[in-house]
Symmetry: C2
Subunit: 412 residues, 2 copies
């Protein structure tokens, strides 16, 4: 089965909203074997909406429309769709009850604009939105299903998970199966060379994609086929996966789509060991990533964000003479920070970072120069990197590098 | 002038990459008065690429194509475009020199796949990519300009800023001017009611959009017109902006597109005061956001991420009896954390957070229950919120709420 996505919202074309809905839908639909063929983003404009609906691909079974269902004047999706499907709006008291109920839980009362959201198209099926006031509409027309969803991600996701995905699963005859191999610290072209021979021998049923992002490459091995052939194809997929593992070995940090912090979190939970961090230029990002994983309190005790030299000295026991001698961005300061937090917070492992994230450097050191350190039960690691002058990139790449290094040190 | 964007990459349709490029392009192009009419995302598939090129909108002047220019086998954009424009690839030694130079700066040597990137279409104009190996191509065909850019954001942005935007500016006769008013903590429908009368009186040249995200609403007032009318239209835009300011007052935290952490950063830099944070469930996110602003070291001294009770007691001076009596998620613990970090780090202002971010609660407290506190020179503020069980949302909303409260307390 094939789908296309239409996202409606001038804010997307103006770049004030990043279209994360399409990515979420693409991932969720492909997991149930529905292929998203195209995503089209257009403005809140009736002509643009109608033209896009007129030009859906002939192979499309599902059209997923997001956005433009809010209570305000600039939201016109419902009105346009009602006209397009030659439908009419009728007042549905049960929807208004739901809206009132939702508001009362937030201690609020719906206003006139919210009441208008209880008018619903007569021919459409309603999928309730438990998390918001705009209800989901489904029309069936020329054997294509058109679904209109609210643009608020949290609300859209709830409806798709509760109603749309289960319905799609029921209607399948083909499957798409993806396997992932995530690698940190090896450039895309180097990976491609390692895999050249193996890749050349792949049959047409399989395809490999390289999905690079700063510091990371995701490899995606895809298998497509008919559900009736799935047994033999899954076996071949398993054997191809074994070959990738043999070629890349420990470079693969996960075969799920989980981030490195999840991988690390699992390692710590398994080992029963504890972790603390001392961060300078990463400013709390390492702690924030670790604590983004539910249950991280089992092993993560906390962090000192030592943004000033004063805090490095006072709270982490860094020697002020070393700062004078070597500067705050130096091997010795990185090691002293890691050792300082390790003994202060009484943990098994500690991480530290010190550097100039950019856009400018300092004290004769160029922007993007960083020292990263890890101290463990009977190992310590410290290394200098040049990450370039982009602040955000230097911080996010440093998090990846240090998490991957921590994985390799723990997982010995 | 009008543009459309075509993003090529199966990873986008599968949702493994969020299409941030289109958002960045949308913003950059609208700033120079070029309207993005449509964004189409398709897979790395020759038929899909050709069909999309065949169906560009008649009013389009610029077609911006991103992605599919990498060195690996799954990247086919260049090959397809060369065929589409009836062009041919020729080897350009100067491009290979550039690639070699780029690699040597990273201490690497290009491989065979990288050498292939030095083959360039004969009829296309080259815009050099200073940051990567895939060069940008421009074809002019039936008075439409087609530009093919690499998908790596950092590389794409560099080329657009250096070459594409300056060229677009030269060719303008219409303008689009946007003004923004960002509000925290007021629901979209409440804002809409406050603005109803003013909005109803707007002429067709102006339009207002509500761009909500969790905890925030961006209001965008847009004015479109011919460059020759710009003087009078800009005057009217100014007067409309004054009216919005009169209606919303202090609720507007900025009229730029800057985030609250930038607004706060400015307030601190102006006042010469200092800040530190003590974070429990936000796990370093508040510090990370503050330090995402260049120059934050001028006022931000650091943070203690106290993820365990032990650290709250030992490092922040929280009374262990209060934890036993009230639990760690309580008014008194939040206040003691804020006061503790304030005296320990010797700062003028401090922020603290304690709560259950979700997905589960603890000790009889439901997930999403949080206490936020701020202590300043002669003021303290502490408040309980129920943010729901979504971990990420609870953390990000808490950051917004506390930053906005800090702004209101400082800016008195």
């Amino acid at each position: 089965m094939k789908a296309e996505i239409i996202t409606i919202g001038t804010e997307i074309l103006l770049g004030h909203t990043v279209d994360t809905n399409s990515a979420w839908l693409g991932k969720s639909l492909s997991e149930v074997g529905v292929e998203v063929q195209r995503v089209t983003s257009i403005s809140d404009n009736a002509d643009a909406i109608i033209k896009t609906l007129d030009e859906i691909l002939p192979s499309t079974n599902w059209v997923i429309i997001t956005g433009g269902l809010g209570p305000t004047k600039d939201d016109i999706t419902k009105k346009v769709l009602v006209k397009y499907f030659n439908d009419e709006l009728i007042y549905r008291p049960e929807i208004f009850e739901h809206i009132k109920d939702l508001f009362s839980r937030m201690g609020r009362v719906p206003n006139l604009l919210n009441k208008e959201q209880a008018y619903f198209p007569k021919k459409a099926k309603v999928f309730p939105n438990k998390r918001g006031t705009a209800q989901c509409m489904l029309w069936e027309y020329n054997e294509v299903k058109y679904i209109s969803l609210p643009g608020v991600p949290f609300e859209m996701e709830g409806i798709v998970e509760d109603y749309i995905l289960p319905r799609m699963i029921k209607e399948q005859d083909h499957f798409i199966e993806n396997r992932y191999f995530l690698v940190q610290g090896i450039p895309e072209s180097d990976l491609a060379l390692k895999l050249t021979n193996w890749e050349a021998a792949l049959t047409e049923t399989f395809s490999l994609a390289y999905l690079p992002s700063p510091g990371l490459v995701k490899l995606r091995l895809t298998c497509r086929g008919r559900i009736e052939d799935s047994d033999s194809l899954f076996k071949e997929l398993d054997s191809q996966s074994i070959q990738i593992r043999e070629i890349l070995g420990k470079d693969i940090f996960t075969e799920s789509l989980r981030s490195l912090e999840y991988v690390i979190s699992d390692l710590f939970k398994k080992s029963g060991q504890t972790l603390a961090t001392a961060e300078s230029f990463t400013g709390g990002n390492i702690a924030a990533k670790i604590t983004s994983v539910p249950g991280s309190s089992e092993f993560f005790k906390g962090s000192v964000v030592a943004y000033s030299n004063e805090i490095k000295i006072k709270e982490l026991g860094v020697d002020d003479n070393e700062i004078i001698l070597n500067g705050p961005v130096s091997e010795i300061v990185a090691l002293q920070m890691a050792n300082g937090i390790k003994s202060k917070y009484e943990v098994d492992w500690s991480i530290s970072t010190t550097g100039y994230a950019g856009p400018i450097g300092g004290q004769g050191v160029t922007a993007g120069t960083v020292w990263l350190a890890i101290v463990g039960p009977d190992v310590s690691w410290v290394k200098k990197f040049s990450m370039g002058s982009n602040r955000e990139r230097t911080i996010s790449k440093s998090c990846l590098v240090i998490f991957n290094q921590l994985r390799l040190l723990i997982d010995k």
